[in-house]
């Protein structure tokens, strides 16, 4: 039962941070900050998948959601920045 309480506490903590980061991602003016916030939401989602006893899903989300998606977003941002300058 103790472990369950720890998991609930961790979920609430990570969930609050995720929701704040989601608002930051939508409202911040700098696109790079928004991309990094989304990457952190994916990372926290992967921890929550682990707490929900889904290690397979957690591995995929950590590699794809917070790794590769961020990389291709930055490729697009770089191209837009270079074209504007």
């Amino acid at each position: 039962m103790n472990r369950e309480f720890l998991f609930i506490g961790l979920t609430i903590f990570l969930g609050l941070i995720s929701i704040i980061l989601a608002f930051v991602a939508i409202h911040h003016k700098k696109l790079s900050v928004a991309v990094i916030s989304t990457s952190f939401i994916s990372l926290f989602a992967s921890i929550i998948f682990l707490l929900l006893a889904a290690p397979d899903v957690a591995m995929t989300e950590a590699a794809i959601g917070s790794g590769l998606t961020t990389l291709i977003f930055f490729y697009v941002l770089n191209k837009i920045k270079k074209t504007n300058a």
Binding site: M59, G67, Y75
Partner: protein
Amino acid sequence: MLKNILIALVLIGFGVIFYDLFMVYEAKTELTDLAHYYAKNGANEIGGANLVTSIVVTYRGFDTLGEVTILFVAASIISFFLKLKEDEEEKVIGSKDTTELLVTASQVLVPLIFLFGVYVFMNGHLTPGGGFQGGSIIATGVALMIMANPNFKINTQIIHWIESISGVAFVFAGVLGVLLGGGFLDNTFKGLGVGEFGTLFSAGVIPIIYSFVGLKVGAEISNILNKYQKSQKSI
């Protein structure tokens, strides 16, 4: 003004749907009937220790086949949209020098990451992991390579061959199930059994099929990354 009201209506609609879902939800203490069947018979019928792998590859194998097809179509359309003009192919991507730390670390880490990816998809039926995870881990290795050297040329011929051969082999293993086993994508062939539980050569053809899925997913994601890297040339 009308637009804001419409947006509010759409969001309230979503809210009502999800409110219902949340109020009806009860913390489960037992499995549903279907999941109960999988958990009860999965180890004996399929022979794999990881039930998620058994479901992805065998019980719902068509799902996986369709999924790799969707990823292939997405990769093809991206290749079509990010195609370069011929005079841009030879350009060099202008970038600041990458740090010594990143270059050296990538030389040490990339082979290890590839090895880990292969380990993950070969042991997909025993430990957490499988083709999708292993493939995306291999693609992260490729990402590290192109970050360390922005002008690194990925050999597209090798990627295309790996992708095509593993796609054909996946379907071939499925058809082999029709001829020797009980149906399309059946993992056990007549007379061979499922092997000893918990060893590498168990669960019939699941390790083979999932290895091909891993190679295919890794090749496709590497192809997408390669296209995005090349698109930096046409600035």
